[in-house]
């Protein structure tokens, strides 16, 4: 590690440590109501107490997110391929897609719960709705923007339509699909959590909501930290996967 990286790490570690220390000191001194701002030590204790419960909730949420994610990716990539390839469809439909993308999905949440009830189904559906749009928009843009030279070359070498898709379009859009998938997972998770908070009976959103309603601050902070770390790990993993699969692109990404 060179000097600059060392200095950066020092700043990061010192800041976090100082923050935690100050927080602990303030909490111990009684300057804040422990009901609202628990000491880090209390949070750690809570983590041990409700760790199992929180993990179960997290597992539940991640399972629903996974299902919603698969749906989003399939619909998003499939729809993006269609939209990007067929000019007439794209021109007619694109403004609606963009409008739906930009519309805050929270507005239809109560209606979805009315329609599908409480529990797993609305969470999966709402998560899928959240995740499908960024993927759809990104993939359709990428298909539309595939370098024409590559298509001409493939045709010149006798590629049939199916071969054009398999051997040129799909490999060409891989980087964008990966970016879309990285965005999609965060959006899916977000959607599932929102439903769990609004109308959930299980899952991390419900767990967080229960702790908040019960004024169990240390437990709430612990659970929040847990789900945050899980999310960061998932995104970083996808980033690493993205890097490995796009190695042929070099620095340009």
């Amino acid at each position: 590690m060179d000097r600059i990286t060392i200095r950066i790490r020092i700043v990061q570690i010192v800041s976090v440590a100082a923050l935690l220390a100050a927080w602990e000191a303030i909490a111990r001194a009684g300057w804040v109501d422990p009901l609202f701002v628990p000491a880090p030590s209390a949070v750690t204790g809570a983590m041990l107490r409700v760790g199992a419960l929180a993990m179960a909730g997290l597992g539940d949420t991640l399972a629903k997110t996974a299902v919603a994610y698969v749906i989003s990716v399939v619909l998003g990539v499939g729809g993006g391929l269609v939209l990007g390839s067929i000019r007439s469809v794209r021109q007619a439909v694109n403004p609606f897609v963009i409008a739906l993308y930009g519309m805050p999905k929270i507005l239809v949440l109560p209606w979805i719960v009315l329609l599908l009830g409480f529990g797993t189904l609305p969470a999966v559906v709402y998560g899928a709705i959240h995740g499908v749009f960024p993927i759809l928009v990104l993939v359709s843009g990428a298909v539309r923007d595939v370098d024409h030279t590559w298509l001409t070359v493939a045709r010149a070498f006798g590629a049939r339509r199916r071969q054009l898709y398999w051997k040129v379009v799909l490999p060409a859009i891989v980087p964008t699909v990966l970016t879309g998938m990285r965005l999609g997972i965060v959006f899916c998770l977000l959607g599932v959590l929102i439903v769990e908070m609004f109308a959930g009976v299980r899952g991390m959103g419900h767990v967080l909501g229960s702790f908040a309603n019960g004024f169990q601050a240390p437990e709430l902070f612990a659970a929040t930290a847990l789900v945050s770390m899980a999310s960061i790990v998932i995104v970083l993993s996808l980033d690493a996967l993205n890097d490995r699969l796009s190695h042929w692109r070099g620095e340009a990404r």
Binding site: W150, T152, V153, R155, F157, K167, V174, W248
Partner: protein
Amino acid sequence: MGGDVGAPHVVLDGVDKRYATSSGPVDALACVSLTVDAGEFCTLIGPSGCGKSTLLGMLGGLVTPDAGRVLVDGRPVNGPDPRRAATVFQEAGLFPWRTTLENIEFGLELQGVARERRRAAATELLGPLGLRDFAGKYPRELSGGMRQRVAIGRALAIDTPIVLMDEPFGALDEQTRLLMGEWLLDIWRRTRKTVVFVTHSLQEALALSTRVIIMTARPGRIKSVVELPLPYPRAMESAELVALRAKLWSEIREESLRAMGDV
């Protein structure tokens, strides 16, 4: 294969091409007729916009004429046929997600050739292409000249009787161009394919071709055809070639001026 060397291989007969642009229809080619014999190295040269790339596109089946016929071996051209002609473009057009070997074997892959066979065919070409150490590299790791060599390798791999080249060295610096020209000549003389070569460069036309076809400014027609039955390698300073260069240049210059004034 295209019959005996010297027999007509490619025929264009009364070919027209018109494009619709935002400022009205533009005649790219007007009543072009020419013949290329088997085993020839035929160069198309002319000012910008004279339609030489369009012509090449027609030979490759990528562009359809509005009038007239395009025949190869006496049969009409209906679309790209990788058994008949291979094309090399100015932008190498390599697929960045494929290695050198994978790019070279692309045409063979499209034709369903088995993996081991096409890998062997591509590997065999690495030697003549001078790319033996770069088999597993990606295009972004190759220089411009190397990428063009891969593109030419890709065209050679499908072993077509005709090879069409659209300013393949246009994006390269002069030294690389000269060396690539020498190298191409060597490959051609060994394989004796029919080559149709589009270029801006008079030097290339004189150094490489058996026949030079000069085109007029837009709408493109054949202005003149010059045979070059000279031995290889060409002695560019010989009296004969100097005279030929002067002659070709005066004709090309005339059309270039016309093209410039035509803006």
